[in-house]
């Protein structure tokens, strides 16, 4: 990437129940970060946070978008959905809490570890939700100039 392109972004539409394409956004983000020379530990944290957020829309919501933006200062991931919303955010944040139905568990999701995973991997994390309307999630992972090598 030319050194004058200091911001790289991408936007994905997510559909509830669309497991077939699940992970496409996180996978692209991972590829972008690797091509920028971001250290592997940071790439892993960002990919895991994005993937869990993406899966939550597919599992729990009706439709949503994932937008990511990478600058020399940070990796910013924004996930907004239309869906049932989360009634009790503190409860949802607890490890092991899940309302996922059995058919979702049979696909390997619903351990109740997604939101705690996102929080753990993010430097800054903001979750807002309105019951009956939807949920927004903002994730930031900070970079330094050395981490954002931009040397490709």
């Amino acid at each position: 990437m030319a050194s004058n392109r200091r911001t790289i972004e991408g936007c994905f539409q997510l559909m509830g129940g669309a497991f077939a394409g699940a992970g496409a956004a996180s996978s692209e983000l991972k590829t972008v970060l690797m091509s920028l020379g971001v250290p592997q530990g940071i790439v892993r944290r960002a990919s895991i946070a994005a993937f869990e957020a993406e899966m939550n829309v597919i599992i729990h919501a009706v439709a949503g978008t994932l937008h990511y933006e990478v600058t020399p200062a940070k990796i910013h991931i924004d996930v907004t959905d239309m869906g049932p919303g989360i009634e009790d955010i503190d409860l949802a944040m607890q490890e092991g809490y899940s309302t996922a139905p059995d058919w979702v568990r049979e696909m390997g999701w619903g351990a109740g570890m997604g939101l705690p995973n996102i929080k753990r991997n993010a430097d800054a994390f903001k979750l807002d939700s309105v019951v009956g309307e939807g949920t927004t999630l903002e994730i930031n992972i900070f970079l330094t100039e050395e981490n954002y090598a931009d040397n490709t």
Partner: protein, 117 residues
Amino acid sequence: MELSGVVELVCGRIVVKEKDESFDITAVCTTDMMSDVLHFAKKGELLVTSLNQSQVIMTAEIADIPVVMVVLGKKIEKEMTAMAEKKHITLLSTELPMFTVCGMLYAKGLKSCVNGK
């Protein structure tokens, strides 16, 4: 332990080959819950699971786990094979159950990717 040794040990077969037979496997993760993989797995080379869906491959890619083994002879869906090819994940299959596979690998000195023990 070499990839080819693992396949032989569990009487398995290679469904998608993206690594050399000599690829070294030292640490293993075993679960059917994908968020557990993303939460607990540290550095590991093999994910053993009874799930036969492409979700598992996506999770392996995100968690940097290059080899996935499906146990119990579960029929591997063609979407899963296609995803493994696309993501360059080596996919193995065995008829053996999870308990037996894990016991065999443990006895050969392989470690858990959760705590390295």
